[in-house]
């Protein structure tokens, strides 16, 4: 028998859980100005984050600003996008890397072959990846649970293998010589005592060169903030309520008059658009991309970030993505034991917090009910939405 009052793991979990609950309650009761103050502090922290002093502690083995751009910033943006699909609409997508790849290749093809500028390509990449989300979703979103997961997994592989076998986009050699974003201004952070002490003196935050990672990080930060605002507004809207109902019980949602298929498609398109934007960003810094930049394991890693952080809760998802991106780099000194330790940390975190590091209250209730916290994952081939003409014999 497991006595809960003496079991140390249970006790630690209980203490952590009540601490995170009380923070969440305080947050939901906090007045508007207090929230804005917190947002402001977070943004200031994010702005000084690339400073050398912080980098020496956080990343002794790799260039910290570059690391902040990718994988950390990139994973966070990808996790925000995947969270729309998995966390909000409850659709298990195992091929999310496909949209990241489509964004990356959009940057490469339009930048190298057509000479478009980064900003034009960013726009095109978002549109193209959203379209590919709809193309993938339209035939497959009639499937549920595990079946959908398998089809999306296949899509991720198809995109990578197609890129590998298409000569126009370089096949296995990929595309090189991708242009950086155009410099917005040569303006330089003044080199005075204050900024020098932060390690930011003399940085040109809007000049996108080959060496300094900081400008790319700031650009990624802008995209992340925009994505957060966009997704948060959706979450609190009619669309967000429709997604929540689909995640919790798709049949019941349809019975409430929610056009479930349309909203699932919208979730796919929005998630894909954010993934595509990340891909364009990534391509604009990387100079060259190859198909193996977009392996299945990246889909799995981003999904792990979402689940680890607390599927459906934005701060949790961001924290999860940060940890999943940062831990393997922080422990680079362990050489070949690195991935072993990383796996061990993930296992420990999930044993300690099966519902994620920062789950939403609603998600906790869903888990308690037994839907597994990932929506109605019931493996059922449902044709619930529309009756196509061919199916009805008069």
């Amino acid at each position: 028998m497991n006595n809960s009052s003496t079991d140390p793991l249970t006790r630690v979990r209980g203490a952590y859980s009540s601490a995170s609950d009380s923070v969440r309650d305080r947050w939901s009761d906090a007045p508007g100005w207090a929230r804005w103050l917190v947002y402001l502090i977070l943004i200031v922290v994010a702005l000084v984050l690339p400073a050398d002093g912080i980098g020496n502690v956080m990343s002794p083995y790799t260039d910290w600003p570059t690391l902040l751009f990718f994988p950390i910033g990139g994973y966070i943006l990808l996790a925000i996008g995947l969270n729309v699909v998995v966390g909000q609409a409850g659709l298990l997508d195992l091929g999310y890397v496909a949209f990241f790849a489509i964004g990356g290749y959009t940057m490469a093809v339009f930048g190298v072959k057509f000479g478009w500028s980064f900003w034009e390509i960013l726009f095109a990449g978002v549109i193209l990846s959203a379209l590919s989300g709809i193309i993938l979703g339209a035939p497959t979103l009639r499937l549920r649970g595990d079946y959908l997961a398998i089809v999306t997994l296949g899509f991720g592989e198809i995109v990578r293998i197609t890129a590998n076998n298409t000569d126009y986009i370089g096949g296995p050699n990929g595309i090189g010589g991708i242009p950086h974003p155009p410099t917005l201004t040569e303006w330089m952070i003044p080199e005075n005592g204050f900024f020098d002490s932060l390690g930011l003196g003399g940085v040109s935050p809007f000049k996108y060169g080959a060496l300094d990672g900081k400008p790319y990080y700031y650009l990624m930060l802008v995209l992340i903030v925009l994505a957060i605002i966009f997704v948060k507004r959706l979450e609190n809207s009619r669309v967000g309520r429709a997604w929540a109902s689909i995640r919790e019980d798709e049949d019941a949602a349809e019975l409430m008059g929610v056009p479930t298929f349309k909203f699932k498609l919208a979730a796919f398109a929005i998630g894909a658009a954010i993934g595509g934007a990340t891909g364009v960003m990534y391509g604009s810094q990387a100079v060259s991309i190859i198909p193996t930049n977009f392996p299945f394991i990246l889909s799995a890693t981003i999904l792990a970030a979402v689940v680890l952080g607390g599927s459906g809760n934005l701060p949790g998802v961001i924290l999860g993505a940060f940890l999943v991106a940062w831990i393997p780099e922080r422990i680079r000194g362990l050489a070949e034991y690195r991935i072993l330790v990383f796996g061990g940390v993930l296992v420990l975190l999930m044993a300690f917090r099966p519902e994620g590091l920062l789950p939403s209250r609603r998600r906790k209730a869903e888990l308690a009910e037994g839907t597994g916290g990932m929506g109605t994952m019931g493996a059922e081939i449902g044709g619930p939405v529309t009756v196509t003409a061919g199916e009805v014999k008069e």
Partner: protein, 239 residues
């Protein structure tokens, strides 16, 4: 007729779940479908509300053929369903669940909310509690209340007594009668034939995907065959 189901066939893959079921529901009635497990009762309801596609036959609602209308559009036309196994939204509070019932329509929601709380005072007491943390009976009340929030012309109830204590079953059935008295037509699917036949006007008996009998509910209560098969009386020991 408010709702006419004409010879519908439904398949799960190659297995026929319904082999030509015809049911009529007139305005103001309580009609019940009784039958054993797997007879096709729930499938019939799901087909009416649009969760299952039909392979043949027609469903006519208020004079309009809705066989090809998507499920979420049938809600606005006036078909409300409380799903089987209390398919409520577990992570939403009672109030949020009820508001989902009014998701698709415009108009005065507050008045309907008050009516539901009137009918189920228990839900008013628990209005900020997460649906998934409530008892079985409360979840059933919530499922019915949520269906009422869609302002249905016909209310489809799928096994409302499933898994409930006898006293609660009594309570739920008297509320169903009350809902009917207030003007909502009810199509009730039940394994608890005794209770269902007592409140219904007419009844259909389903066996392996076909209607084998239909009559006034009262008449079926006295029918020796039905008594033997579904009411636990008569000579045969079958339940």
């Amino acid at each position: 007729m408010l709702l006419e189901i004409k010879d519908i066939h439904v398949h799960y893959g190659k297995i026929a779940a319904l082999k030509g079921v015809s049911v009529d529901v007139d305005e103001g009635e309580i009609v019940t479908l009784i039958g054993a497990n797997g007879a096709g009762k729930s499938t019939t309801l799901k087909t009416i509300s649009g969760l299952r596609p039909l392979s043949a036959g027609r469903i006519v609602f208020a004079g309009r053929d809705i066989s090809k209308v998507a499920g979420h559009k049938r809600v606005l036309m006036g078909i409300g369903q409380a799903p089987e196994g209390r398919g409520i939204f577990p992570g939403m509070t009672v109030t949020e669940n009820l508001f989902m019932g009014a998701y698709a329509r415009k108009g005065n929601v507050a008045k309907d909310l008050k009516e539901v709380f009137d009918l189920f005072p228990r839900l008013a007491e628990r209005k900020d509690q997460a649906g998934g943390t409530m008892s079985g009976g409360e979840q059933q009340m919530l499922a019915i209340g949520r269906a009422l929030m869609t302002q249905p012309k016909v209310l489809l109830l799928d096994e409302p007594s499933m898994g409930l204590a006898p006293k609660l079953i009594q309570q739920i059935f008297s509320i169903i009668e009350e809902i009917n008295r207030r003007g909502t037509t009810v199509l009730l699917v039940e394994q608890n034939a005794q209770q269902a036949l007592q409140i219904a006007h007419r009844a259909y008996v389903l066996e392996t995907g076909s209607v084998v009998k239909s009559a006034e509910a009262r008449a079926l209560l006295d029918d020796p065959q039905v008594r033997a098969a579904y009411l636990g009386g008569g000579a045969a020991p079958a339940i």
